[in-house]
């Protein structure tokens, strides 16, 4: 950044480059059903190739708590998701195994509005759950450099070991390159 500020910017050359490659982001958002797996998908459009540089993401940590009178969806703060990332072009696997999401995603766990113990203590017979703690507030985008071709899909096969459906979202940060 300092280098940029210390130099006179050649606006003509910068515009010319920006017209062919610029910073872009692709969102992958999905819900994984309870005790099941689901293939999440985000498309790299026909606009151009996408050079991914970083990933960030968050996910819920929900589970079911069976009480005397009813069943509660609670935030147990435990990661229930693990995923395998694939490049849709040739189904190339980018992980050797299903990796727990909290090992690769920052900020990671998020407090969910879908949990009853986000607002109040659950006290239903033997079923008890304290108010969920705040989510981690640190933010370190994870380095992930990979070139996705245009028209391909970014595939993320995620398994959920919770008895509740869980949402997650991942953003791929990178550079879109046009005209190739």
């Amino acid at each position: 950044m300092i280098r940029v500020l210390a130099k006179k910017i050649n606006s003509g050359a910068t515009f010319a480059m920006q017209n062919s490659q610029y910073s872009d982001k692709i969102l992958l958002s999905d819900t994984v059903p309870a005790l099941s797996s689901h293939l999440g998908k985000a498309s790299v459009s026909n606009l151009g190739d996408f050079l991914c540089q970083h990933v960030t993401g968050h996910f819920e940590t929900l589970d079911l708590l069976t009480g005397t009178s009813t069943t509660h969806t609670v935030d147990d703060e435990i990661n229930h998701l693990r995923g395998q990332l694939m490049d849709g072009a040739g189904n190339r696997k980018l992980f050797n195994d299903y990796i727990p999401l909290d090992l690769i995603l920052s900020p990671g766990r998020m407090r969910s509005v879908n949990a009853v113990n986000t607002y109040a203590v659950v006290n239903d017979g033997a079923a008890q759950a304290a108010i969920a703690n705040a989510a981690p507030s640190l933010f370190y985008p994870f380095e992930f450099e990979y070139l996705f071709s245009r028209n391909t899909d970014i595939l993320f096969d995620v398994k959920n070991d919770s008895r509740n459906a869980i949402n997650y979202e991942i953003v791929f940060h990178g550079i879109r390159v046009l005209g190739r």
Partner: protein, 195 residues
Amino acid sequence: MTMRTVHRPPIRTPHEGVRIGGEIDWKIARKIAPYFIYQRIIFNAFRGFLTQKIDYGFNYFLRRIWVAYESSWSTTGTWPANKAILPNLFVEFFDKGNFKARQASPIPLDLITATRRGSIRVETQQNGQYNMTANAPKYSKFLNFLYVNGDVIDVEITGQSLTNQGVTAYQPSMIDVMLEGYYIPDETLKMWKGA
């Protein structure tokens, strides 16, 4: 007899594919792919291993290591990690091919990566005793180790037990280890040169 010098092209790291403020070098960027290696180490006898064979045709550029461990142990006592005490663990990296260690002595794990409670829950015993509170990656020192094709990555983690409530000595019984790295084609091989 003199040794023949074999010319090898320089091995390019993933970051050479991108020039900030300049154009992307497609020749490099197209060939390099991230490949994350994950293994859950069942940690007994104070020693655990992660081994991974490098696919033929690729070198592996190990960028960083990420580690998480379980946050509670059993009903008979809470493992100290629950109280945010760091497990006393050490890590060593080896090139299996030539039995070469990449450090002079085992390195305290928490001095090269932000060890933390976390990772996925498993219930190997009743009542979810291996509850792993979700946490987020924080920071990890860049290692930038290059493993040549056909080699085997060998990461060895050794642990010093922590005394829990004066009853029994415990070590974390499970550790999640992930290697963040990239597969880089070994361009000296014929398989990358086409027909």
